[in-house]
Every structure is written in C-alpha cells, then in structure tokens.
C-alpha cells in the first residue's frame, strides 16, 4: 500500500508546474555554483603554484651567488614567504578559505592592502556571499524543499482528496510515511542529479584527489540530511495548518527566521553576553605595562647601583609574566565567545549544516585556529633558520653549493585533518540535524493523528 502512495506522490509532484520551474532553477544554480567556484579555486591554485615556483627560483638564484659579500647582502635582503595551499573542498564550501591569505610573511604581521589595491578592489564580492554549493543548498534548497511540501496535507484537504484517501482502510501513519518518502524522493532526485553533474565537472577538471573526493561525498550526504530536515519541517507545518495560504506564510516565516535571522543574530548576542575587550585595549595595556617596566628600569639605572642585575631581571620577568597573563585572558575570553556564538547559532539547522559542511571541507572556523598556529610555528622556525644561515655565511666563503638547500628552508604547513577526524568533529552537528529530522517527523505524525480531515 505504501508503495502506491509513494508512487502517487512522486507522480503528483513531477507533473506539477512548480516541479518544472524549480527543477530548472535548482539544476542551474547547483551547476553554476560548482562551475564558478571550481574555476575560482583553479585561479587561486594557479596563483599558489606560481608563487611556489617563484620562491624556488629565488633559492636557486641565491645558490648561484659566489661572492661572499654579495651573498650576505642578498640573504639579508630576502625573506621566504610561507605558502598555504588552498583546499580543494573549498569548491563546495568556501568558508574562510578565501579570507585567509595564501602568502604568510616570514616575520611581522600579514601584509595589508596597498592603497591602489584598496581603491581598485571589486567591492561587490564583499557585499554578497560567495555562491558556493553549500550556499545554494543552505539557502535555495531549503526554500525549495519547503515549497514542495508545504501543501501536501492541507492542500489535499482543501481539494477534498484527503477525505477520499482516508476513506480507504489506510492507517494514517502509512499515509504520512508515504507522503514523506514520495515527496522527499522527488526533491532529492533532481538535486542528486545536479550535484552529480557538478561533481563530474570538478573531477574531470582534475582538482580532486582521493581525500577531496571523500569530502565531496560526505558533504553531499550531509546536504541530503539537511534538505530532509527542512522537508520534514514543511510536512509538520502542513499538518498544523488547515489552509495552504496559512501553511505557506508559516513556512516562509520559519525559513526567514532560521536562515536569515537566527544564525546572523547569534554572533551579535554572543558579543553582548560574552564581551571580549578589543585588540586595541589589550595592546594599549601591554604598552602601559611595558612603559612601567621601562620607568622602573631607568630608575635603577639612575641610582647607579651596581649589582642590581637580579632586580632588573625580576622586573623584566614580572612585565613579561603580566603580558602573558593578559594575552591568556584575552584568548580565553575569545574562546568563550566563539563557543557561545556557535552554540547559539546551532538553534538553527542552517548553522549546524554550515558548521558541519565547512568542517568536512576543512575551511571552517577551525581553519583560522590552525592557520594562526601554523603561522606562529613558521615564523619561529624561520627565525632559527635565518640565524643559522647567518652563521654559515658570515666570514667564511661557502665551499660548495649545498650551504643552502631548498629542503632546508622551513615550510609553512597547517594541520590537515584526516577525513575521519573531520567527520568525527562534524558528527555533533550531523547528529543535531538528525535530531531535528526525527523531532519534526514525530511532531508531524502526532499532529496528523489528530488532524481534522473534513
């Protein structure tokens, strides 16, 4: 019996007008998203490769210099920038991958824009979100899923077919399940086809290795779970309302709140509840500590008491300790805020989906943390490398070409999670989505049992 209902539901959907237009729309959007973002990734990847080549060429050039004085000058003048390879899964979920720079300076802060770059940049890219696969699923597919299902119960009631259907000896749970399965298939099938076509394009363009392929498959699976959550929500709304127009309005309201309001308000509320002092305040306090220490030190110098080295040492240590404590305080407060932001945003399945997808792609908030760690490590190692290089070049003429090997130049690297680890980390959000699914379905069932079909 169930199969009959499923079949009827699928045919009903496929023959409807909205199926035709939403099919075209979703196919176009998914394909476009994958196509555009994979080209964009290709650009970034090429940029990475060519900078990499340039750095190699510079090392080769240095190796060829023989005059020790010229060599010393050349080495003092260059610094090797670290390079971060863009993630291939950023095609699907761009996340922070475009925001975090490719080139990492060997010392000092990350280079800002030059004034020409700042004036000449394409501002539109900052105004609108990047249209990647995850964006299309997050925003467009959730709306389409709701649009497919909002009238599945109340619409039939309005037409009177629901009454007819239940006149047969059909248990209500079978009806609901049949409607869910049939409706979901008619949403998921065109989506899967579009996704498959997009993935084939990416695969053919050669941007994917085995690791990336797994991530693609996982993100696709996650999208199915997310779409199903919204589909089930729509089903629930349909069993709540008795008129299609009401159901539509409620569905739209919930969609607006969950997609556009809750995730965007979350960072704001988190900032209000768990404020973090601004970076400038911390810096100025550090400067104050430094000034105080300097004053004390100069006071000691003026007294001209010899043998005060211990006192000097103590003052320096104190100041350093205070600064470390301040920094630690800042980091801790920031961590609290970040966690609160994430947890508040998780009130909406959209945020859960976004967190899980970016985690699977390796481009989520965690990338920022890995990047900071990697940069600190790289700058530290580079400092050591440079000191050693100085010792090797000062005074003595290098004997042969191997005083500077390309392998010896420290490499910038950031922690790359294995697919299994990413999945592990994303599991909480996946579970949350599953819970939303189950909850909505159970509620829909409970409401439908008591639904007034006349």
């Amino acid at each position: 019996m169930l199969s009959h209902i499923i079949k009827k539901e699928i045919i009903n959907n496929i023959l409807s007008f909205r199926f035709a237009i939403s099919y075209v729309l979703l196919f176009a959007l998914v394909l476009l998203a994958v196509f555009l973002m994979s080209n964009e990734y290709g650009t970034r990847q090429r940029e990475y490769a060519s900078i990499n080549k340039k750095e190699r060429a510079r090392i080769d050039q240095l190796q060829r210099i023989e005059d020790p004085r010229a060599l010393f000058r050349a080495i003092s003048a260059v610094s090797f920038n670290g390079l971060r390879q863009p993630r291939s899964a950023s095609i699907l979920a761009r996340g922070l991958d475009g925001e975090i720079p490719i080139e990492v300076p060997a010392y000092g802060a990350i280079r800002g824009l030059s004034s020409a770059e700042r004036v000449g940049r394409n501002a539109l890219r900052e105004v609108f979100q990047a249209p990647d696969f995850v964006y299309v699923v997050n925003v467009v597919m959730s709306l389409l899923a709701l649009l497919f299902v909002f009238d599945t119960i109340c619409g039939e009631k309005e037409q009177g077919t629901l009454k007819l259907l239940l006149a047969h000896s059909l248990p209500r749970d079978t009806v609901l399940l049949g409607k869910w399965v049939g409706g979901y298939i008619s949403v998921a099938m065109p989506f899967s086809m579009a996704a498959l076509a997009g993935f084939t394009y990416v695969y053919a363009s050669g941007a994917l290795n085995a690791d990336g392929l797994w991530r693609f498959v996982l993100i696709y699976g996650l999208s199915l779970v997310y779409i199903s959550a919204f589909f089930t929500l729509g089903l629930m709304i349909s069993t709540l309302a008795h008129r299609t127009s009401t159901a539509l309005l409620i569905a739209l309201l919930v969609w607006i709140c969950w997609i556009l309001v809750v995730p965007n308000i979350a960072p704001v509320v988190a900032r209000l509840v768990a404020p973090v002092p601004s970076r400038q305040v911390i810096e100025s306090e550090k400067a104050a500590i430094d000034r105080e220490a300097q004053l004390l030190l100069s006071g000691i110098q003026k007294r001209k008491v010899y043998g005060d080295e211990k006192e000097v040492e103590r003052i320096r240590r104190d100041a350093a300790g205070k600064m470390r404590k301040l920094e630690q305080f800042y980091v801790e407060r920031l961590q609290v805020q970040i966690e609160l932001t994430q947890n508040l945003a998780r009130l909406s399945p959209s945020a859960s989906f976004l967190f899980a997808a970016t985690r699977l792609a390796g481009t989520g908030p965690v990338l920022a943390g890995y990047f900071d760690q990697g940069m600190a490590r790289y700058q530290h190692e580079y400092g050591r490398f440079r000191r050693e290089l100085y010792h090797a070049t000062i005074g003595n003429k290098p004997q042969d070409g191997d005083w500077l090997r390309a392998e010896d130049v420290p490499r910038f690297f950031i922690t790359l999670e294995k697919v299994a680890d990413s999945l592990d980390a994303a599991l909480f959000d996946v579970l949350l989505l599953l819970v939303f699914n189950a909850l909505f379905f159970m509620l829909a069932y409970a409401f439908f049992l008591r639904y007034d079909v006349t």
């Binding site: 909205r18 237009i21 939403s22 959007l29 476009l32 555009l36 080209n39 964009e40 650009t43 090429r46 940029e47 060519s50 900078i51 340039k54 922070l96 802060a109 990350i110 800002g112 824009l113 030059s114 004034s115 020409a116 770059e117 700042r118 000449g120 394409n122 501002a123 539109l124 609108f128 979100q129 990047a130 249209p131 964006y135 299309v136 925003v139 467009v140 709306l143 389409l144 127009s245 309005l249 739209l252 309201l253 607006i256 309001v261 995730p263 965007n264 308000i265 979350a266 960072p267 900032r271 400038q280 100025s284 920031l334 945020a351 976004l354 970016t358 989520g364 908030p365 920022a368 943390g369």
Partner: protein, 466 residues
C-alpha cells in the same frame, strides 16, 4: 471610488496573518540590529578617541628627527551612518600608517572571532534587501489571483469600476499596508539610536537617513509591483507564489553573487602575482643592461668612482625601468577596475544590487568614500612629508648654529618639539555629493517599479475574470 478601494484593500491586509507576521518581524529585526549597531558604533567611537590621543602623544613624545621619518598613525573617524549601514569599509574605524611621499600602510582587518565571517551582518540594508523584499512578495502575490480564486474579483468588477482604478487601488492599499509596519519599526530603531549619546546626527546624516528611507521605499515598491505583476499573470494564488518565490530566489539570492563570479570568468584579469613577477623581470633586465653598460665602460663596481656620463646614463636607465614597471602596474589596476565595473553593470540585473550600492553610497560607506579617504590620506602624506623636510632643515640649522657656539652634539637632542605638526582632517562626503553618486541606481529602481507596474496594468486589462 479609488479611496474606497484603497480602504478595502488596506483593511483586508490589516486583518490578515501576514500583517501580524510583518509587524513582528520588522520590529524584532530592525530593533535588534539597531541595538547591536549602536553598540558597535559606541565601541568604535571610544576606540577612535583612544587611538587619536595615543597617536598624538606618540608624535609629541618624539625627540629624534629620524623618528619623524618613520611616519605617523592616522585614524579614520567613525561614520554615524554605520548605525544603519555596515558598509564596505572593513572596520568602523582604523589606523593607517602614513609616511611622506604617498606611502600608506593599511593594517589588514582581521576578525578575531572566526564564526562571524560565515554569516552576513544584519544591518538595515540586509533587512530591507532580503527580508522585507520577501515580505513584499507575500503581500502582493494574491492581490489579483487570490481574489479571482475566492470570487471577490468578479463581484468587484460587476460594479462600474474601470480596471485601472481597481489595480491602482490594490497597489496603494497593499503597499501602504506593507510599509506601515516597516516605517514604525524604522522609527523605533532610530529612537533606540537616540539613547546612545555617542550617536550624533548632523544635517548630512539626517538627510542621508531620509534618503536611505526613500531608497528603501522605492526598492520595496519595485519588488511589490513585481508581485502584483505575477499575480495578474496567473489564475491561481498557489502558482503565483511558486513563481514569485523562485523569481525571488533567482533575483535576490542568486543573481548578484553568481553574476559577479561569472563576470570574473568572462572579463579576465591577470593575477596580482604575475604582475609582480613581470615587474621583477623588468627590473632584472634593467639591472643586466646597467651591468653591461658598466662593463663596456670598464668602470669598477664601486659607483663612487663612476664618471658623470656613466652615472647619468645609469640613472636614466633606472628611471626608464621604473616608468615601465609603473605602467604595467597601472594597466593591471585599470584591468581590475574594468572587471569591477563590468560585474557592477551585470549585477544590476537584480534590483537588490542597485539598492545595496545606492544605500552604501548614500551612507558614505561605499567605494567612492573609500577612494576619497585614500586620496585624503595621500594628500596628507604630502603635507606630512614637507613638514618633516622643514623640520629636518631646521634641525640641521640648529645643529650648525650650536656647533658654531661650541656645544657638544648630545646636549641639544631634545631641543626640537613637534607640537605644531599638521593635523589630519577628514570629513565624510556631503549629502549633495552622495546624491550625485546614486542617481543612476535611483533611476534604475524607478524604472523597475514603473516597468513592473505598467506591465501589471496591461496584463490586468486583459485578465480573464470568471
């Protein structure tokens, strides 16, 4: 007669569920965003005040002429319009390092909370552009097709009513019902801003707020008319809402972002890195040429011993290379500008782009304002450079003077003070300038509104009422 129609339409809407939803949504979204933006603004003002004092003291405490050449830190004053429009500038206030000769160093804006960049910020522009536009469609999708379904339209047309009056009445009534909760919430949001003493509106800002409101109303009118148009094209309300939602998704959520990236595929720009590399190559070639000349002349590597002609020749060569490099750089920037302007034109396919861009410009937070800020900094950099030069000559004179009097060098280190250094003054654009920037977008929005309304009028004239 029109009055009756408007009244009927208005009453219909006021009693509906969607009006209640619109009221709640507008109030919650606008007021929440007002609280947040006002707090952000307050923080920006205090940061700005602190930084200006710190940076002024830093100059005043300088006692070595060499330190002046290391430049000065300049702060951008926060813009009171940031209460409503978050704008393009990455931060509400920022410090820029300025040296003489047009050297500016912008500090990279780096958001410490990595979750925030994942979601767009909720400001007035976002609320109107995305949320209110969806509500506008919810208000108009069944204006004609819904009445057709319920049979009211037939009854209505049985009176001696011209169709233009009917459609005009519907437009006015529905639009007023849509705009009323929005206006109320907007006033409430402004009132919240008034509770923050830091938020001070000058005449410019007042006018800009009015302009922003007018823009929002115009944009909503365009979207509302689109809803009316689709409603007159369909016979069933459910068809009309399906079409409209898909149109909305395409126009508001997909077209602007996708078109920008698609234009990037069509109008290509070489990568920043390749331009740098070409510059490097040009310099390298110049260096090789200079070496060749040097060898041909048989001069030694120490340039102290060069002859006048050789020196002039090499200097000319260097200048030539620098000109070539600058030319390459400028042609790259021109290409980037070309790409941006093409993507701007293409993205204007969606009224949202027009609205967003015009709103940014009228809030003095768009690209033109960025340009003016950078230009002001560059102008200041020249002023600063000549000030430093003046101080240097004064310093040298002083040194010579005192040396004549037989003093030791170290004694007069602190003799010069820099309290009279030129201050950086920066004003946001005047309202007239802002208006000049947005007229094209305003025209576009007007055109959309007029086009949609006229199309809906024509299609309603031919509407099959049964």
């Amino acid at each position: 007669m029109l009055f009756h129609l408007v009244r009927k339409e208005l009453l219909d809407q006021l009693l509906s569920l969607r009006f209640a939803i619109a009221c709640v949504l507008c109030l919650v979204a606008l007021m929440l965003s007002a609280v947040v933006q006002a707090r952000d603004y307050r923080e920006a003002v205090s940061t700005f005040n602190m930084n200006t004092v710190v940076h002024r003291d830093a100059v005043l405490q300088k006692d070595d002429i060499a330190e002046l050449q290391r430049g000065i830190e300049i702060d951008r004053p926060p813009n009171a319009m940031n209460m409503l429009v978050r704008g393009l500038a990455p931060q509400l206030t920022e410090s820029v390092e300025v040296r003489g000769g047009g050297q500016l160093k912008f500090v990279r804006a780096y958001e410490r909370n990595p979750v925030i960049p994942l979601f767009p910020s909720v400001d007035f522009v976002f609320i109107v552009g995305v949320i209110m536009s969806l509500l506008a469609l919810a208000f108009s999708y069944d204006a004609v097709s819904g009445e057709q379904e319920s049979g009211v339209l037939k009854l209505l047309m049985s009176y001696a009513l011209p169709r233009d009056t009917v459609i005009l009445g519907k437009w006015i009534g529905g639009y007023v019902a849509l705009v009323t909760p929005f206006l109320l919430a907007f006033v409430a949001a402004l009132t919240i801003g008034a509770f923050f003493p830091e938020v001070e509106y000058g005449l410019n800002e007042m006018l800009a707020i009015l302009g922003l409101l007018a823009l929002a109303l115009l944009y909503l009118a365009a979207i509302y008319s689109l809803g009316l148009l689709v409603s007159t094209l369909t016979q069933l309300a459910s068809t009309s809402i399906a079409v409209l939602l898909l149109l909305w998704v395409a126009l508001i959520l997909a077209v602007p972002n996708m078109v920008i990236y698609a234009t990037g595929q069509v109008v290509r720009v070489p990568s920043r890195e390749s331009v740098d590399r070409e510059g490097g190559q040009l310099r390298e070639e110049g260096r090789l040429k200079a070496e060749a000349i040097q060898k041909a002349e048989g001069a030694s590597w120490d340039n102290e011993e060069w002859s006048e002609e050789l020196r002039a020749e090499i200097a000319a060569l260097n200048r030539e290379v620098e000109v070539a490099v600058r030319k390459r750089e400028e042609s790259y920037l021109a290409q980037v500008r070309n790409q941006s302007s093409w993507s701007g034109i293409a993205a204007r396919l969606s009224p949202l782009t027009s609205f967003n861009m015009a709103a940014y410009d009228i809030a003095a937070d768009g690209m033109e304002q960025e340009r003016r800020f950078v230009a002001a900094l560059q102008g200041y950099s020249q002023v600063w450079g000549s000030y430093v030069e003046g101080r240097e000559t004064a310093w040298r004179d002083l040194v010579e003077h005192r040396r004549d009097q037989g003093e030791q060098d170290g004694r007069f280190q602190r003799a010069l003070k820099y309290g009279d250094y030129p201050r950086f003054k920066f004003e946001y654009m005047s309202f007239a300038d802002r208006l000049e920037l947005i007229w094209l977008d305003v025209l576009l929005l007007l055109m959309w509104a007029a086009l949609f309304f006229m199309a809906s009028y024509i299609s309603f004239l031919r509407y099959n009422i049964h």
